[in-house]
């Protein structure tokens, strides 16, 4: 058979075994991987305008914590997730809203009046009143709602929340 185009019996068996094996691995592997990653594939986006309260509730230059919850169906259960933001009214009509989620590893920062900054309880990251990095392991300033993501409607401060 040397020199002919025919494939030898031995090579044919090898090839056929490899091909059938590959089909079987895919037949098992694809369902299993899909099964495991399914909750992430179906996750939709959640976005909404969240009212944080009337402007006059916020004292000038005093960071005020506002909590809100978003509910989401996870699997067979409806879960309420809690979020927090700091509203800072820098002057009569100048507002900025910071997320309280530390940019290091996601713990929630607290406003510390005596330090005059936001402190993360997990790894001692400190952010200034403007959200900037003062010291600590965090890679970037606090996330803020600004521009298109914040508005005042009928005297109520609103932020545009977006996730997923």
């Amino acid at each position: 058979m040397a020199g002919s185009n025919h494939i030898s019996r031995r090579d044919f068996i090898k090839l056929a075994t490899a091909a059938v094996g590959a089909i079987m691995v895919a037949g098992v592997g694809i369902p299993v991987i899909n099964y495991l990653i399914d909750p992430v594939l179906g996750a939709g986006e959640d976005e909404a305008w969240i009212p944080l309260g009337p402007v006059e509730n916020f004292e000038i230059n005093k960071p005020t914590m506002v909590n809100f919850t978003r509910t989401k169906v996870n699997g067979w259960e409806r879960t309420a997730n809690s979020y927090g933001v700091f509203v800072v009214r820098r002057s009569e009509n100048d507002l900025v809203v910071f997320s309280n989620k530390c940019t290091h590893l996601g713990c929630r920062v607290n406003w510390n009046e005596s330090v005059g900054g936001y402190i993360c309880p997990c790894h001692d990251a400190e952010f200034g009143p403007d959200g900037a990095i003062v010291r600590g392991p965090q890679p970037r300033p606090l996330d803020r709602y600004e521009g298109d993501a914040i508005k005042v409607e009928d005297g109520v401060v609103m932020i545009f929340f977006k996730e997923g």
Partner: protein, 219 residues
């Protein structure tokens, strides 16, 4: 390259000896009835694999068990397939293990020197039935609830300590969250570990003694 790598591993792991002892051992003349033990082993591994995947979503609590299975069946990709294999595989495993036992009985393969293989095989049958029994409750639907009510009530027929056994099985006087969680624990930890251990000894004995030849007219 591969040959070198294999030789290196073989020197340290004894792969060739393992292969000779397990897969290349001498067999009596081929007979399909002799494959039922291997079939039981494959079904055990299949049930183990699909069962592990089911625990990714299943939740053994009265509040969530039924809903989590509905979620697996209707929403998770291929969840119906994995649960379907586990569901039908359990019935098939009981059937195959039982026919395997019948074959060993009919060919008298339980005789010297294989008495212990037979006895451990009996334990394996009981453990397999135990897996079916504990797994049946886990969907926490009406059928599961009442089947387990009846089956645990049957344990009450044991003289003197029957009532106590029923309560221990249920974790109380009635079926409750405690029943579900202890059945779950038995189903995914205790019984499978016992099964795996007994299968190990069973297979070791088969390799040690070799398979029995079919009886001929002389026997």
């Amino acid at each position: 390259m591969w040959k070198k790598l294999f030789a290196w591993l073989d020197d340290r792991l004894g792969l060739n000896d393992l292969y000779k002892a397990t897969l290349d051992r001498p067999e009596p003349k081929g007979n399909w009835w002799n494959t039922l033990g291997s079939a039981s082993l494959v079904l055990f591994l299949l049930q183990g694999a699909t069962g592990i995947f089911l625990t990714v979503y299943y939740t053994p609590s009265p509040d969530h068990a039924y809903d989590s299975i509905q979620y697996i069946m209707n929403e998770v990709a291929f969840g119906w397939l994995i649960r379907g294999i586990h569901h039908w595989g359990s019935t098939l495993m009981v059937l195959v293990v039982f026919i395997h036992m019948l074959r060993v009985f009919i060919t008298a393969s339980y005789k010297y020197p294989r008495e212990l293989t037979w006895l451990i095989g009996c334990a394996l049958l009981i453990l397999t039935l135990g897996m079916g029994f504990t797994g049946y409750l886990l969907p926490w639907n009406q059928r599961a609830f009442w089947a387990t009510t009846v089956a645990t009530e049957i344990a009450g027929a044991v003289p003197f300590i029957g009532g106590f056994i029923t309560e221990v099985l249920r974790g109380g006087t009635e079926l409750s969250a405690l029943t579900l969680s202890r059945f779950f624990s038995a189903h995914i930890w205790m019984l499978p570990l016992l099964l795996a251990g007994c299968i190990g000894v069973h297979v070791y004995l088969i390799i040690k003694h070799g398979e029995s030849a079919f009886p001929d007219k002389e026997d």
